[in-house]
Amino acid sequence: MARPVVELRGCTREYGALRAVDALDLAVLEGEFLSLLGPSGCGKTTTLNLIAGFVEPTAGRILIDGEDVTGRPPHLRGLGVVFQSYALFPHLTVFENVAFGLRERRVPAGAIAQRVKEALALVRLEGRERQRPAQLSGGMQQRVALARALVYRPRVLLLDEPLAALDKRLREEMRDELRAIQRAVGITTVFVTHDQAEALGLSDRIAVMQGGRIEQLGVPREIYERPATRFVADFIGASTMLRGRAASGELVTVTGGVALRVAVGRVLKVGAEVELAIRPERVRLATAPGDNVVEAEIDALVYQGAQTELTAKLADGQRVRVFVTEPAPIPLAPGQRVRLHLPADAFMVIG
Amino acid sequence: MRLRLAVLLLLAFMTLPTVVVIAVSFNPTAILSFPPAGFSWRWYVNVLTYPQFQRAAWNSLVVTGGAVLLALPIGTLAALALERARLRGRALWAAALLSPLVVPGVAAGLGFLILAAALGLLRSRIVLVVAHVALVLPFVVRSVWVSVRNLDPALERAAASLGASPRRIFFRVTLPLLRPGLFAALLFAVVVSVNEFVVSLFISNRVTEILPVAMFNYVVNYTDPTIAALSSLFIAATFLVIWLADRFLDLGRVFLQH
């Protein structure tokens, strides 16, 4: 049974009138890879800084392994941090950078050399001990930063958007490596990112944050397929939002008189206002009218290689986004009338 | 924290002399004592009525006024040229314009003295003004250059596209936008010129000497608190000027950027 390694209880951090983190409760479980995901200003980096001890909460407590560390300075928390800018000491060699934490812990020189070697091997950067950070590429610097944070076997690894500075291909490469290393070492990890693809691909659990609060905490599949709030539905993946009123336990009338059957294991309250979201990749082009098939007119087409992103207008003006896998089953053009099938089990009921 | 204590002690060291000077200036008797034995304005009165100080103050006004009036336009034009003209060896030109900062005061002072003697200008204030322009120019150029660098050329092009002639553009667009740099330049120029001592010592005589030189000559000969009073006036004026400058300019940005 996984137990919490890091706990935040009711943590609030204020900067004057601004509340960067608002009464946050979070428990990070042993060995898990937890991502804090959200847009700029949502409080994810502040949360990380609270765990690391770089800022103090204005209210609340922080516990590591059940011990209250609120107020304890960063150098006494036994954590490993990888910064967005890597913060590799420019005046020290790669070896000295990685050895830094070991030296602070008075590890004997012989052991230092051995452990630095192991750490560099773990991140696949052997042989560069004598070089300076300025001589390394971005990807290599990132690995050194990782080695430096891991070499002294900290309790928790904290990563602040470490892949943000890399180009797309390198980012994907490093993403896989990062996950592999984390699994190999088994270290509890908190990962801050604004990139949802990254979070979905790397994490055991994701905490989606906004306005200093956690909107939803869960495994990636749950976050994606059953977003709890409109914000999460909007932020993760693309969605079409449809507003309507429940006509029965499973029928929703959207404006325009069209009735959609919703089969997601929930009984709707009759007469209640309902917000439905559906992912573009679940909407299908239909050939004949039928259950949950709506008529629409193509408004815009964006060719994207593997798929075409289609925006179609319903009778009442609401727009539906559809991903059509190329090659498309029928030729598509702006202004064309099409039929769209919205499968009953593909809906996400918001709220 | 130990750092805070150290900083406070050092700040005390830095400000102690100022405090002592101001305190001594109010001493009723001619003895320099601290803390003062009473309170009296007499030394301030002495300062304001002493003929040599009055003459020196007038000289300071004339010399600094003349130097600033000349240095501001000359320096502004130079700053514009440095930033925008196609120059080979721009760094060298910049170094040349800033070079008077680097020359020791005694060397410049003696040099100007010799030059003035050769030109027969020893008794005139012209040498003083010219020397001050040269000494103040680097400050003006540097201050205005910062502003010029931050000036978006697109604004002047926009004015041109709207039909303004180069002259109009300069006075209606460029100069107003350079205001922060010009203000800083004016500030530096005045303060540097008013306080300039070493060079002025060499090239002035009793008739033409400016305030700092007059003060120096007084201190060497007399030991009453008159100079403390005059110094206090200087200090008060300086604090006022700096406080104003910080309010309008955010000195942190001016000084902590290289």
């Binding site: 941090v81 | 004592s33 130079a78 040269a134 120019l137 110094s231």
Partner: protein, 262 residues
């Protein structure tokens, strides 16, 4: 556009003419009792090396070196506070207190020390006024604003992420300073040190008023020879010496700030 430089060039030309005159006269023969010089000679520079003047040069170098070291030690904490304080009010206060002496003028500042060191505030156990100790105090006080600004600029360019990284790796604040902050501020220390050293070599009002005739630095010799003895050639030679030393040191400082690690 380039023509806009002309007025400034004219001013510089006058300045250059003054320095040329200085250079020329350092090579002319001094005729005692007259302001008219003789022919070209190197005697003035030989006189610089004469014992009574050589020790002024030596004293100047020693005082400048001591001043630089003490100024560095005294300025670093203030510069650190100035660069790192999050509060704008504190930063403004520190900046005003640092800059004020800068703008108050040499005579005022030096006179203030004449008062403090001259038994006005307290009777010193050992004499301070008119001694090298006193001049040293005055020189350090004089140089602190410059050093503080240079160090503060260097420190403010150090990314705080480095200090946080060091802390996260287990270094307590004193260790963070020794292992990270201090080394990264070294270029500022060197260039600040060289600049203060160069300026102190040519210091005049401080030794003149606080030295009371007993402490002579190079600048005082220049004034004595030039304005008191009317030995313009001899004075010019010393002035050229001061100029040469200053230029050499500032050239060294320039090379250092040019090659700063990013």
């Amino acid at each position: 556009m380039k023509l806009l430089l002309l007025p400034a060039i004219a001013v510089l030309a006058v300045f250059a003419a003054a320095l040329t005159a200085l250079f020329r006269w350092s090579l002319l023969e001094f005729i005692p009792g007259s302001l008219v010089p003789g022919g070209y000679t190197l005697d003035n520079f030989r006189a610089v090396l004469a014992p009574q003047y050589l020790h002024a040069v030596r004293d100047t170098v020693i005082l400048a070196a001591l001043t630089t070291v003490l100024t560095l030690l005294a300025s670093y904490p203030v510069a650190y506070a100035l660069a790192r304080t999050p509060s704008r009010a504190v930063r403004s206060t520190l900046l005003v207190l640092t800059l004020a002496p800068f703008f108050t003028g040499a005579i005022v500042r030096t006179y203030a020390w004449v008062l403090v060191l001259g038994n006005t505030v307290m009777t010193w156990p050992i004499p301070m006024l008119f001694t090298e100790r006193g001049v040293l105090v005055g020189l350090v006080h004089f140089s602190m604003p410059t050093m503080i600004l240079i160090l503060a600029a260097a420190l403010s360019h150090i990314d705080p992420a480095y200090e946080r990284a060091a802390a996260s790796l287990g270094a307590r604040p004193a260790r963070v300073f020794w292992r990270v902050t201090l080394p990264l501020s070294m270029p500022g220390i060197v260039s600040g040190g060289l600049i203060v050293f160069a300026w102190t070599l040519s210091a005049f009002p401080t030794p003149e008023l606080l030295g009371g005739g007993k402490v002579k630095m190079i600048a005082n010799v220049v004034k004595d020879l030039g304005l008191d003895s009317f030995n313009w050639p001899g004075s010019a030679a010393f002035a050229m010496l001061a100029l040469a030393l200053t230029l050499a040191l500032l050239a060294a400082a320039g090379r250092f700030t040019g090659s700063r690690p990013a």
